[in-house]
Amino acid sequence: MTDIPAKAAAPSASSGSALLTLMKLRTFIALIAVLVFFSIAAPNFLSAANLILMAKHVALNAFLAMGMTFVIITGGIDLSVGSIVGLCGMVAGYLVLNGIDLQIGYTVYFNVVEIILITLAVGILIGAVNGLLITRLNVAPFIATLGVLYVARGMALLSSDGRTFPNLVGKPELGTTGFGFLGAGRLLGLPVSIWILIVVALGAAYLARYTPLGRHIFAVGGNERAARISGVRVNMVKMFVYMFSGFCAAIVGLIISSELMASHPATGESFELNAIAAAVLGGTSMSGGRGTIGGTIVGAFVIGILSDGLVMMGVSSFWQMVIKGLVIIVAVVVDQAQRRLQQRVTLMQMAKAG
């Protein structure tokens, strides 16, 4: 007697949870799917040279997407990252070429390490401006970062009057050489930018998982009021995520100008959208409180491989945009379906128990 209902209930519950597991792994499945598809459809896709090249492309978006992930988990958005990329590239280029004129007949030139540190500081500073606007002046994140998007882009254009800073080789007598290492250097066969990505990603994942700050980021996004009453310094948490996002954007600005050995003020336009797409594809919830660094990296790889693979197959760039958009929409639809299914499974269990 007792066996019958148990047997009847078991298959539906287990099939529900099997489906749930599949849905949770969707980004990973998508990654494997695009890898398999292009290794068959595009010749040379799986060659080491091509894989490394793709990884370098993906890394740029992955940096921005990591910063974006933390911001989105707190329930915000950062539209300014693309402009920060451009502005930081210009800062680096300006410092390599011109140094800082002290107005008293002397000009200070910095070595490459100093230039990198100054550029990163600029990125963090712009992030801090975002954070201050949002926490102190109560500007909605969308609007605050939209404003900074324009301001930073305008400053990048002003810095050179819209021209490119070319040929950032530097002069040995000024100690400004070696800027190309970030973009072109290799360590143990891997590009430097990939190593930086690995370090920053591990650091960010550790932060999210094992530190109070990480826990607080999720709490602020999940329920800001409850976090505040629990003693979480909500404003500090928000300041941090925007500053980290600015830091990530500065890294991208440095890498791009180092790869090209030139800084162009329009660099990074619309990068913010790719970063948001990667974060969302990786399972970050736009309503805050949910998301992982690992998921975001995988999401960045799916988008990057998709666009590079389509280029190799000779698909028109117009179609590429259509396909990318569809992939993002499908990802979010599946995400919502997963939430609903999960909720239903929990509620059914509670109804049975209570």
Binding site: Y210, T211, P212, L213, R215, H216, F218, A219, G222, N223, R225, A226, A227, R228, I229, S230, G231, V232, R233, G289, R290, Q343, T346, L347, M348, Q349, M350, A351, G354
Partner: protein, 518 residues
């Protein structure tokens, strides 16, 4: 239960679960034709949820609905209306910016062949229904110009105009005058004679006994009694509603409170609209003492707690812990000084519902488990396990999302979170609100134990029984001011109620609004 009325609608084992609470548990409910089927129960017993399920507004989580013997499922209230089920909602669902006639025919507009609304026909038909209610309401009046009682009559006219086979009325008389109630009862008698099944929800027992034919009693989401009205009396109804299990307040253990642990002096909080939400309030609390703060809704109890926790930058006054002034103004550092708040609104302020039970428990006390900047997982897990055991939180795995717990267990998580900060003074705002009887008893027992361990507890409540049973001393607040302070020995319900009404209008006017907030 034999009778001459046929069953038209039957609910079988219907359950409705919301995240965190079970509103209706396996209810079996029958609605009979040509009769008034009465439904009673305390606030939060699940009456309205049950009716919303019948009216298609909510979908049951489990169970089935049989309409005239045939299983049905309504995905919207439109579905239910099409099958002849109408509902008068407790909260008015009217469009204030439209006329009475437009409201009555909303979504069923009478149109001519070109699809244009036939205003004249609508107003004529609406007038017929309104005439039966004898309320002097003209169909072309704007709803927002009507008194609230008249609006309720419009809502009733709208439901009657559906020509429903089943008509649900959720507290239809709450805003009606005595004369209007009489008219409503005439309309109900008329509908009954035409074979309409009426489901009638009300708190007014004398009303129910007068017009009801069948009665069903709900308690904590379960149906506890179902009878023909002529077989029951008021006492039976009350017994079914309240149940034999009276509230279980843990007994005082007679320990003596220690030295003063907390003192507040001249706390003031200005209101945005002018005046003071907390008005020069001073009180003191001893270690191991439970000080109950009684007050009606809006008396300023929650605002006082917010001031103590440093949630309002513009509040003034001084607070002391163990004789030393707390100069820190922000919540974070006040928690570090030994204050902890269990907020009134669990969902909005107590929990981060998408995080796990474990993460919620340790959210306020993470610094205890950190070396340098690394959270020591083992230490955190150990603290979580210990707290789950101490507070008897029913959870299979602490990694589970906190929203999957029942209300009572969620409340225990909030309490556990506060306790993990190792507070000296615990502020509890309505700690027993919205949780079941068993969990309430657990919460009260925990309060006793904590006070025995030397914690000072300030707890705010609008439940008179609770404040009388649990407190060592009782403070009464009214209109932001402290209007009474009683030792348990000398406190009487009458004195407390009188103090809680000071500075307000007539007490008789306030008493019902206190009951409403439960």
């Amino acid at each position: 239960m034999s009778s001459g009325h046929d069953v038209i609608l039957k609910l079988e084992d219907v359950s409705k679960v919301y995240a965190g609470t079970v509103a209706v548990k396996q209810a079996n409910f029958e609605v009979r034709k040509g009769a008034v089927n009465v439904l009673v129960g305390e606030n939060g017993a699940g009456k309205s949820t049950l009716m919303k399920i019948i009216a298609g507004v909510e979908q049951p989580t489990a169970g089935r609905i049989l309409l005239e013997g045939e299983a049905v499922s309504f995905s919207s209230s439109g579905d239910a209306v099409n099958r002849g089920i109408g509902m008068v909602f407790q909260e008015l669902n009217l469009f204030g910016n439209m006329t009475v006639a437009e409201n009555i025919f909303a979504t069923r507009e009478i149109t001519n062949r070109l699809g244009k609304i036939d205003r004249k026909a609508q107003e004529r038909r609406a007038g017929e229904f309104l005439d039966r209610l004898e309320a002097g309401i003209r169909p072309d009046m704007l709803v927002e110009d009507l008194r609230i009682g008249q609006q309720q009559l419009v809502e009733i006219a709208k439901a009657v105009s559906l020509d429903a086979k089943i008509l649900i009325m959720d507290e239809p008389t709450s805003a009606l005058s005595a004369a209007e109630v009489e008219i409503l009862f005439k309309v109900i008698a008329d509908l009954k004679a035409r074979g309409v099944a009426i489901v009638y929800i009300s708190h007014r027992l004398e009303e129910l006994i007068r017009i009801g034919d069948y009665i069903t009693v709900l308690r904590d989401g379960r149906i506890t009694g179902q009878e023909e009205m002529r077989n029951v009396d008021t006492q039976w109804i009350v017994r079914q509603m309240i149940g034999s299990d009276a509230k279980d307040f843990a007994k005082a253990d007679g320990h003596q409170p220690g030295d003063e642990i907390f003192r507040a002096e001249e706390i003031c909080l200005p209101r945005v609209t002018g005046g003071l939400a907390v008005d020069h309030l001073s009180l003191s609390l001893r270690a191991g003492e439970i000080l109950g703060i009684y007050g009606l809704m809006g008396a300023g109890r929650s605002e006082l707690f917010d001031c103590i926790m440093g949630r309002h930058g513009h509040a003034s006054g001084r607070i002391f812990i163990a004789g030393r002034q707390v100069k820190e103004r922000d919540t974070t550092r006040r928690i570090q000084r030994g204050l902890a708040l269990i907020p009134e609104d669990r969902q909005r302020e107590g929990l981060v519902s998408i995080l796990s039970v474990a993460s919620n428990l340790t959210l306020a006390s993470l610094s205890r488990f950190v070396s340098l900047f690394h959270i020591r997982g083992a230490a955190e897990r150990q603290a979580v396990t210990q707290m789950v055991r101490e507070l008897a939180i029913k959870v299979a795995d602490p990694a589970q999302e906190v929203s999957s717990l029942s209300g009572g267990n969620q409340q225990k998580v909030v309490i556990g979170k506060a306790l993990l900060t190792e507070p000296k003074v615990l502020l509890m705002d309505e700690p027993s609100r919205g949780i079941d009887v068993g969990a309430k008893a657990d919460v009260f027992r925990t309060m006793r134990k904590l006070s025995r361990d030397g914690l000072g507890i300030l707890f705010a409540t609008s439940d008179l029984d609770e404040v009388m049973a649990l407190s060592d001393r009782i403070a009464v607040m009214s209109n932001g001011r402290l209007t009474g302070m009683f030792d348990r020995a000398e406190a009487t319900e009458a004195a407390i109620v009188a103090a809680s009404a000071l500075g307000h209008g007539p007490a008789a006017h306030l008493a019902p609004s206190d009951g409403e907030q439960r």
